[in-house]
C-alpha cells in the first residue's frame, strides 16, 4: 500500500516529519517498506536570476551568463535555448550533486571560458522528463532553496511517497484514511472530517438492480446510480499526480475516480458505460461455463457459484474482482452507471484464486471493506464526478441490505497487564479504543464497521497495546519450571540422532542437508515416485516427489561435486524420508556414501579405492554408537538399488532391519550420472531397540586370571559359504569357553580348485576355572571342526 504525504495530510492534520510518521507507522504494525522523499536529493539547489546572457565567443549554441546568486554574481556557461536575461532559474553551485546526470558540479572551463555552476532542467533534477530548456520559475527570491519554493508553489513535485506492508487483518489500512486514523490514535495529529452531503437525484435511474436470492450472501447490498451527460477525459492534474505517485496509471477521469476511492477509503467502485448496458443489472451466481472478456483483456470461463453482475445480454462484471470490457467506460462515455456494492470476502477470495485474477478490488473485498460506507462511497464519487465532469445524477437505486456487522466485546482493562505485561491506565485504554472508532458503552466496546478483524476480547487488548507501543514493553524473567539444575530434555531418540550425526562426522563424513523433494525419476529408482508422495504444485519437475530415501539426494550431490572436480567424497545426511503422503508416513534415516578413493594419492601408498567393507565398517560403527546390539544377522535381501552380490542387510531377524550397507547398483549410478563405484549405507535409528530402562550402573567386570589360548584353523568351503555362518558354527562349539572367533584370511581358487575357498579363523578360548591342558584344547578343536563341517560342509585344510 502506497500513499503520498500530501494524501495522508488530506485526512490527518499533523506537523510530524516524514521520518517521524514512518517510524510510528512501523511501530503501530503498519510496517514501512520504503520512503521515497524527493526533497532529500534536491536540498542543495537554490534559486538564481540571470542578469545577462551573451553568446559564447567560441561556440554558437552556448551562452555566457552572469547570474545573481546568494553568494554574489557568478559566470555560468549554459547551452539551453531559453537561457536569457531576467529569468529566475534553479542553480547547482559547485559541489552540488545533480541526480539526473549523476554528476557533482565542479568549477570548469567550457570552450575556454570559466563556468561556476549549472542551471538545471526538470530532467536533470529527476522531476520530470522535461529537458527542452532550463527551468524558468514564475516567482522566487535569489538564494531561496528550491525545495522551499516547491513546497510553497508546487508541492506535488516533491511529495514524499510512503509504502507500507499491510497484514491481512487490517483492510481498513488499505485506505489512506485508515492509516491516518491509526496515527491520530497514537497522537501524531488529528483526523480531519471529510464528509460529503448526499447528492440529490433529479431523475429515476433507467437501470435497475436486483439481487437473486441465491446471491444474497455473496452480495448482500448493491448501490447504484446513473450520471448522465458527463464529459469524460483526462483527470485533473492533482488526481493524475496522486495516482502516478503511488504507481497507478491514470486512465480516464471516470476510471481514476474509482481508483482514487479504492486507495483513499478502501472503497472499490465500478463504472459501467450505461449506453452499453442492455436492460437492468442482476446480481447472481454463475451457473458455470459463462465467459467474460474482462478489463484486463483476458477471457475467463466461469465455474459455478461465482458472483457476477449480468444485464440482458449476459455477464458484464465479476463482482468484487473485475469489470467486463464490453460495458467498460471509454473517453467517449457520456452516461455512466456507478456501482458501490459489498461482496462477501470468502467467495471473492475463492473466485479470485480459481480464476487467478489479482486486482485491487479483489485484494480489498477478500480482506473486508467497510459495509457501512457503501452508500457514502457512492455519494463521494458522485460529488467528485459532478464537480469535474459535470452531468446530472439520478436517484440512487439500492438492492439488498447492508449486512449486519454489529458486535461488542467487554474491555477488561486488567487483561492488558495480565496478557501483555504493560500497565496502561483504564482511561487511556478506553480513549485509545474510541480514537480507533470503537464506541464505548460501559465496559462494552462496539466494534467499528471498518474493523472486520476484531472478533474478541483479546483483539481489544491487541489494539490497546499496539497503540500504546510494544517498543515500551520491558522484559520480565520467566521463572524456571523446576528450581535448581535444569533437567535433561532430549528424548532417547533425539540423543540417538545426535550421536549418529556426530559419529558420522567423526568417521570423516561431511553432513549434507538436501531437499526433501526430488524428481520423479530419481524417486522411482529408489522405490518411490508414486502419486501419493507427489506434490500437487511442485516448484519444478526437479522437486516433484517426496524422497523415498536419502541416497538419491546424496548421489545427486555426489554428481554435482564430481562435475566440479571433486571426486573423493564421504557424504551423509540424517533426515526423514517419506513412504506416502499421509501425516506420519515419514521415517528417520541416516545414510552415507563413499565415492572415489580413501584419500588423495600419497607418499605412503595408503590411498586406495573405497570398497564395500569401508561402508560396512562405518555402518557398524554408527549402529553401535546409536545403541544397536553387537550381534546382528546379515541377510542379502536388500532392495534393487543395491549391487545384488555386494550388499548386506543388518538386522535382528528378517523383519527387524536396522540398516543396509553395500555397493550401489551401477545402473542407478548411470541414471543419476554419478561416476562410480559408490558404496554406502542406510540406517533406521528408530528401528534400533531402545534400552529397556536407563540404568547407570554397569554389570560387574569379569576378569579371569587364567591365560587365554588362541588356536588357528583353516577350512576349505564352497565359495558361496558365508564367513559369518562359519564363525557362528565355530563359536557354537563351546559357548562357555570360546570368547571370540575372528576370520583372518580368505583365499580363493589356486590349488583349492574351482568354486572353493579357504577361510582361516583364530579361536580365542578363555578358561574360567582351570588352566587349559593340551587335551582340552584338542577336544574343543575336534568339536569346532565337526560343527563347522556340519554347518558349512567345510573341511580342515590339509
Amino acid at each position: 500500500m502506497k500513499f503520498t504525504l500530501s494524501w495522508l495530510k488530506h485526512h490527518l492534520d499533523t506537523t510530524a516529519s516524514v521520518s517521524e510518521i514512518a517510524e510510528t507507522l512501523t511501530d503501530l504494525g503498519l510496517e514501512v517498506e520504503a520512503v521515497e522523499d524527493p526533497a532529500e536529493r534536491l536540498g542543495d539547489f537554490t534559486l538564481g536570476r540571470v542578469i545577462a546572457a551573451e553568446k559564447h565567443p567560441d561556440a554558437d549554441k552556448l551562452k555566457v551568463c552572469r547570474v545573481e546568486t546568494d553568494e554574489g554574481e557568478r559566470q555560468i556557461i549554459c547551452g539551453a535555448p531559453n537561457a536569457r536575461e531576467g529569468i529566475t532559474v534553479v542553480l547547482a553551485k559547485p559541489g552540488t550533486y545533480v541526480p539526473g546526470i549523476d554528476t557533482t558540479i565542479q568549477v570548469g572551463k567550457i570552450r575556454g571560458v570559466e563556468s561556476f555552476g549549472m542551471m538545471c532542467s526538470e530532467r536533470e533534477m529527476e522531476l520530470s522528463d522535461e529537458h527542452s530548456g532550463i527551468i524558468e520559475l514564475p516567482s522566487g527570491e535569489v538564494g531561496q532553496r528550491f525545495v522551499d519554493w516547491l513546497t510553497a508553489n508546487d508541492p506535488a513535485k516533491i511529495d514524499p511517497v510512503i509504502e507500507i506492508a499491510i497484514t491481512p487483518n487490517r483492510p481498513d489500512a488499505l485506505g489512506v484514511r485508515g492509516v491516518a486514523r491509526d496515527l491520530a490514535a497514537r497522537g501524531l495529529g488529528t483526523l480531519i472530517a471529510r464528509d460529503t452531503d448526499p447528492v440529490p437525484g433529479t431523475f429515476e435511474s433507467p437501470i435497475k438492480v436486483t439481487i437473486n436470492d441465491e446471491a444474497r450472501e455473496a452480495c448482500p447490498v448493491f448501490y447504484g446510480r446513473l450520471i448522465r451527460g458527463v464529459k469524460n477525459g483526462p483527470s485533473p492534474d492533482w488526481l493524475q499526480q496522486s495516482l502516478k505517485a503511488i504507481g497507478l496509471r491514470p486512465i480516464s477521469f471516470l476510471v481514476d475516480v474509482t481508483n482514487f476511492f479504492t486507495y483513499d477509503r478502501n472503497r472499490p467502485l465500478h463504472v459501467f458505460d450505461a449506453a452499453k448496458v442492455k436492460g437492468d443489472l442482476r446480481v447472481h451466481l454463475s451457473k458455470g461455463g459463462e465467459e467474460l472478456l474482462a478489463l484486463d483483456e483476458k477471457t475467463y470461463r466461469l465455474a459455478p457459484g461465482m458472483t457476477v453482475i449480468s444485464d440482458d445480454t449476459g455477464v458484464e462484471s465479476l463482482g468484487g474482482i473485475m469489470g467486463g470490457e464490453a460495458s467498460g467506460v471509454t473517453e467517449e462515455t457520456t452516461d455512466v452507471f456507478l456501482e458501490a456494492a459489498f461482496f462477501d470476502p470468502i467467495r471473492t477470495a475463492y473466485t479470485g484464486r480459481s480464476l487467478k485474477i489479482n486486482s485491487d478490488a479483489r485484494y480489498r473485498f477478500e480482506r473486508g471493506i467497510d459495509p457501512e460506507w457503501t452508500p457514502h462511497g457512492i455519494e463521494h464519487a458522485t460529488r467528485m464526478i459532478l464537480d469535474h465532469a459535470g452531468g446530472e445524477a439520478s436517484e440512487v437505486v439500492v438492492a439488498g441490505e447492508i449486512p449486519d456487522h454489529a458486535r461488542a466485546y467487554r474491555l477488561d482493562t486488567e487483561r492488558c497487564s495480565r496478557l501483555v505485561g504493560m500497565d496502561i491506565p483504564a482511561e487511556t485504554q478506553r480513549a485509545t479504543l474510541e480514537a480507533l472508532g470503537f464506541v464505548m458503552d460501559g465496559d462494552m466496546a462496539h466494534v467499528p464497521s471498518w474493523r472486520p478483524d476484531v472478533m474478541g476480547e483479546a483483539d481489544l487488548v491487541e489494539e490497546v497495546a499496539r497503540i500504546a507501543s510494544l517498543t515500551k514493553l520491558e522484559g520480565k524473567p520467566l521463572p524456571r519450571m523446576h528450581s535448581g539444575v535444569p533437567r535433561p530434555i532430549l528424548s532417547a531418540l533425539q540423543k540417538r540422532e545426535q550421536a549418529g550425526r556426530r559419529t558420522a562426522a567423526s568417521l570423516g563424513y561431511n553432513e549434507c542437508v538436501t531437499y526433501s523433494f526430488i524428481d520423479r525419476t530419481a524417486a522411482e529408482l529408489f522405490g518411490g515416485g508414486q502419486d501419493a508422495s507427489m506434490l500437487a504444485n511442485p516448484i519444478s519437475s526437479e522437486m516433484s516427489h517426496m524422497r523415498p530415501a536419502l541416497l538419491p539426494g546424496l548421489l545427486q550431490a555426489a554428481a554435482r561435486n564430481q562435475a566440479r572436480g571433486m571426486s573423493d567424497l564421504a557424504l551423509f545426511e540424517m533426515g526423514h524420508v517419506f513412504e506416502g503422503g499421509e501425516p506420519g508416513e515419514q521415517n528417520l534415516c541416516l545414510a552415507g556414501i563413499l565415492v572415489g578413493r580413501t584419500g588423495p594419492k600419497d607418499v605412503h601408498g595408503a590411498s586406495r579405492a573405497v570398497d564395500l567393507y569401508d561402508a560396512k565398517t562405518d555402518a557398524e560403527a554408527l549402529l553401535s554408537a546409536m545403541g544397536a546390539p553387537a550381534k546382528m544377522q546379515i541377510l542379502r535381501s536388500g532392495d534393487a538399488w543395491w549391487h545384488p552380490g555386494r550388499h548386506g542387510v543388518l538386522c535382528l531377524g528378517p523383519k527387524k532391519v536396522l540398516g543396509i550397507f553395500g555397493e550401489i547398483h551401477p545402473r542407478i549410478l548411470q541414471a543419476l550420472d554419478v561416476k562410480g563405484p559408490v558404496v554406502g549405507f542406510t540406517i533406521w535409528p528408530e528401528a534400533i531397540p531402545m534400552p529397556k530402562k536407563a540404568v547407570s550402573t554397569r554389570p560387574a567386570l569379569a576378569q579371569s586370571d587364567l591365560q587365554p589360548v588362541e588356536r588357528d584353523f583353516a577350512f576349505v568351503v564352497d565359495r558361496d559359504v558365508a564367513a559369518l555362518d562359519l564363525v557362528n558354527a565355530a563359536a557354537g562349539a563351546d559357548k562357555a569357553l570360546i570368547e571370540e572367533v575372528r576370520v583372518f584370511d580368505e583365499f580363493v581358487g589356486g590349488s583349492l580348485g574351482e568354486g572353493k575357498k579357504s577361510l582361516a579363523i583364530t579361536v580365542r578360548m578363555q578358561p574360567k576355572e582351570a588352566t587349559l591342558k593340551e587335551k582340552d584344547i584338542e577336544a574343543v578343536g575336534v568339536k569346532i571342526v565337526e560343527k563347522v563341517g556340519k554347518a558349512t560342509g567345510g573341511t580342515l585344510r590339509g
Binding site: D27, L28, G29, E31, N169, R170, A349, R418, L419, V420, G421, M422, D453, G456, A458, E462, A465, R466, L470, T471, L473, P477, L478, I489, L490, S491, Q494, Q498, R501, R502, A505, S506, L507, G508, Y509, N510, E511, V513, T514, Y515, S516, F517, L535, A536, N537, I539, A557, R560, N561, R564, A570, L571, M574, P583, E585, T598, G599, D602, V603, A606
Partner: protein, 357 residues
C-alpha cells in the same frame, strides 16, 4: 701378573667389535684361557704361595670380566647409535591422509538453540512434515479463505480423484507442532520445535525448503513481557553479546494476539553486518500471545491458560551468526562449502563450554 693384566685391559679397550671381544674373553678367561690356566696352577702351589697368588688371580679375573662387560655395553651403545644414524627419516613428509568430516550449520545451530532453550526449561517436540490443512491452517486460526493461506505459498500434496478430503500440505511453518503437542500433553508446557518447513518460493533469498524453530510456553500467567525476556536471553546467549537489544513491533499473525515482529540490534558498516551493536534493526522473528482460538483448537481452555509462541528461521540466524552469505548454498552440498562452513564432529555446543567456542 701385572703384565698379564695390562695386556688384557689394553686389548679389551682396543677391541673393535663384539667378535674381537669374545676372542679376547676366550683367550683370557675362557676354559683354556691364560688366566684360567694360571688358576689351575694354583693347586700345585704351596699353601703360602697360594694364599698370595689366589686372591690376586681372582681379583684379576674379576677385573677382566668387568672390563669385558663394560666394553660390551659400550660397543652395543655405539652400534645402536650407528644404526639410529642410519634410520634417519624425512619427517617433513606428510602423514597418512585422514578424512575429516563435518557437521552442517543447520544441525550445529539447532543444537545451539536447543542448549539455550533447554536451560530455560523447553524440551524438543517434533511433528510430521506432511500435515493436514487443519493442523497447518485451521487450528492456527487460518480458515480456508484467509489471505494468509495464499500468501504462504503452500505446497499441496496430490489428491487422487474421488478422495474429497482437502489436500494435505507440506507444513509451511513449525506451528502445527504446537497444536499436536498441546493436544497430547495439554498445559502447562514449554517446547521448542525445530524442523524443516516448505514454501513454494525460490529466488536469491528464498528456498522452497528451509528450517524454523517454533517456541511455545503455556501456563497460567505467562505474559508477553516473559516472551520478551526469553527472546532477549536467547539472543544474548546465541549471538554471545551481553545486553543485545531487541525491539518489539506490533504486527499480525492469525495465531497470536497481540502479535509482534521482533528486531535485533545491528550495525551495517562497509557492507559488514554486526549483530548486537549500532542503531540499526534487523527483523528476526514473529511472535505473540497464543490466540485463544488456537488454544481452544488444541483442547486447552483459554480462560485458564495463556502463553506465548514464536517462530524463527534457523537458516537465517545461522547466516547472521556465522556470516554465511547465500541461503541456497545450504542445500547444494558443495564439498568446499560443507568443509568451510561446517563444524567439527566434537564441537558439541554446550552452555558451560560456550556455544561457538
Amino acid at each position: 701378573m701385572d703384565d698379564l693384566r695390562d695386556k688384557y685391559i689394553q686389548a679389551i679397550a682396543g677391541a673393535e667389535d663384539e667378535a674381537a671381544l669374545e676372542a679376547l674373553r676366550l683367550e683370557a678367561v675362557g676354559k683354556k684361557g691364560e688366566i684360567s690356566l694360571k688358576m689351575r696352577e694354583l693347586g700345585k702351589m704351596s699353601a703360602e704361595e697360594r694364599q698370595v697368588a689366589g686372591p690376586k688371580l681372582n681379583a684379576l679375573k674379576d677385573e677382566i670380566n668387568a672390563a669385558l662387560a663394560a666394553k660390551k655395553a659400550a660397543l652395543g651403545d655405539a652400534a645402536l647409535d650407528a644404526r639410529l644414524r642410519e634410520e634417519w627419516l624425512d619427517v617433513t613428509l606428510p602423514g597418512r591422509p585422514m578424512r575429516t568430516g563435518s557437521i552442517h550449520p543447520i544441525s550445529q545451530v539447532t543444537e545451539e538453540l536447543t542448549a539455550i532453550f533447554a536451560d530455560m526449561g523447553f524440551s524438543v517436540a517434533e511433528g510430521p512434515q506432511i500435515d493436514t490443512d487443519w493442523y497447518n491452517f485451521d487450528a492456527l486460526n487460518i480458515p480456508g479463505h484467509h489471505p494468509a493461506r495464499a500468501e504462504m505459498d503452500t505446497f499441496y500434496m496430490h489428491r487422487d480423484e474421488g478422495d474429497n478430503r482437502p489436500p494435505h500440505v507440506l507444513r509451511t511453518h513449525t506451528s502445527p507442532v504446537q497444536i499436536r503437542h498441546m493436544e497430547k500433553y495439554g498445559a502447562p508446557c514449554r517446547i521448542i520445535a525445530p524442523g524443516r518447513v516448505y514454501r513454494a518460493d525460490y529466488d536469491q533469498t528464498h528456498t522452497p525448503m528451509f528450517h524454523q524453530v517454533e517456541g511455545l510456553a503455556i501456563d497460567r500467567d505467562i505474559s508477553m513481557a516473559n516472551l520478551k525476556w526469553v527472546l532477549e536471553e536467547f539472543f544474548a546467549a546465541f549471538f554471545e553479546v551481553d545486553g543485545i537489544k531487541t525491539r518489539f513491533r506490533a504486527s499480525h499473525f492469525p495465531f497470536t494476539e497481540p502479535s509482534a515482529e521482533v528486531d535485533i540490534q545491528c550495525s551495517w558498516e562497509d557492507g559488514q553486518l554486526k549483530i548486537g551493536e549500532g542503531d540499526g534493526w534487523l527483523e528476526v522473528l514473529g511472535s505473540g500471545m497464543v490466540h485463544p482460538k488456537v488454544l481452544q483448537a488444541a483442547g486447552v481452555d483459554p480462560s485458564e491458560w495463556q502463553g506465548f509462541a514464536f517462530g524463527m528461521g534457523i537458516d537465517r540466524i545461522a547466516m547472521l551468526k556465522y556470516g554465511i552469505p547465500d541461503l541456497r548454498a545450504f542445500f547444494d552440498s558443495d564439498l568446499r562449502w560443507l568443509k568451510h562452513y561446517g563444524f567439527s564432529s566434537l564441537g558439541v555446543p554446550t552452555l558451560h563450554g560456550g556455544l561457538s567456542a
